[in-house]
Amino acid sequence: MTKVLITGMGAISPLGADLPGSFAQALAGHCAIGPAPADIAKWLPDILLAPAASEPHTLLDSKHASLDRASQFAMVAAGEAMTTANITPQPADARRFGVFVGVGFGGAHTVDGLYSRFQSAVQSEGKRNPVLMHPLSVPRMMANAAAAAISMRYGLNGPSNTYSVACASSAIAIGEAFRAIRDGYLDAAIVVGCEAMLTPGSLLAWNALRVMAKPHADDLARSCRPFSQDRSGFVLGEGGAAIVLESAARASARQQPALGELCGYGCSSDAAHLTAPSSAEQVYAMQQALDDAGLQPADIQYLNAHGTATETGDVVETESIRTVFGSREHSQLAISSTKSMHGHLIGASGILEFVLAVMAMNSGSLPPTATLEVPDPRCDLDFIPQTARHGCQVDAIMSNSFAFGGSNASLVARRYPQ
């Protein structure tokens, strides 16, 4: 089985318009969370959002203006990852180069726009025809719109597959691309996660689930508080992230340096409850990923937790991590939930957190759980409270993603000697 190397990474997130900017803000403990715009706040005055740091269409050619916002995030992130990997369109081995995308919802902006237009026309007293919709509505809103746009942009003829597994979507996209290369089906892949659902319609739906963070009395931006005693839920974010994966042979043949080796993937299903997590299956996903990598728990120095700041989720994840890695007294593992700063990007969260973890591995600087001021006693591990940790020796990292619907994914990466 071939080694799978990470040769490019990119991101557009609430923390920054690119990956270095996003990582720098994460290390600074910057929380990119704020109030909702007026069209949402008039219905949901307490709802908080983490909008992207930059409008994606401003970073793309005008020909991509008609894509849904989620696909635009995907294109921006993919562009950065392909540029850092020094890959240009139409590679000679295009049929051995796949596209793997994770997205939770897909074209939420297109769907919301469609209903908004319909309602507006219905109420126009006959001035406008409610039946007339833009003919690209379906191609914009379809879940695989981003994968299609990326495969066409770069002329990639390998499979272009989309994984929709709620909060684990892009972690599973990474894992499946990893297996496809490791097992010889492909030589390279661009993996992307994207999400853009900060729309009135989807936020009304999320609000109904009662999982959204309440505004923090002292500072709105610090309202998402994973592992904290006063946590109240998560904040929906938007954006995209991407990685380029290549077989060691392909990267070596073109003398492309690696940013790390993707070496382990585990996945499982709770098969128990739509939203409540199960520790046993989270543990199984993490143990699979370690076994896949041939690593012991002590070989991992940093873990980017799923850490959504829900009452149940944080306690169950803590229990799962403790089961795999041991208690705080018996483990050197440093853990953080960067959702405290960039919010929950749902389909894009797994890959954004994975690339932040790889950046942490390569820099030795670990992003904090920025809002962790009063730890929940049940969350008793080293969650890097409030401030980043620098000068750390990190040889391997893990990133967890646990989804509504009970799907769990864990990824492991390690340093790759140049």
Partner: protein, 92 residues
């Protein structure tokens, strides 16, 4: 105005060379629009006239000016022979 709406769409959104439209004999097929481009172009008009134009597959066989005349005829047919104001709300 009909001609301007379509030309603007083709030049600004589809990147067609503006000089193409100086040729009075321009054929729609020469614009190299695929079926998705064609329905997107027609939507620019439909959004303003309030109904769906029939059978877009006819147009690639026509000259550009013939297509414009055909679209105008269809709009007039829906408006008792009149050509309505095609400006969208907010357009001057």
């Amino acid at each position: 105005m009909l001609e301007e709406i379509i030309k603007n769409y083709l030049i600004n959104t589809k990147g067609k060379d503006a000089s193409l439209f100086n040729d009075p004999q321009l054929q729609v097929a020469a614009l190299e629009l695929d079926s998705l481009d064609m329905v997107e172009m027609l939507f620019e008009i439909e959004d303003r006239c309030g109904f769906q134009l029939p059978d877009p597959t006819r147009y690639p066989k026509m000259g550009f000016r013939e297509m414009l005349a055909d679209i105008e005829a269809a709009i007039r047919e829906h408006n008792n022979g009149e050509l309505p104001d095609l400006r969208l709300e907010g357009e001057q």
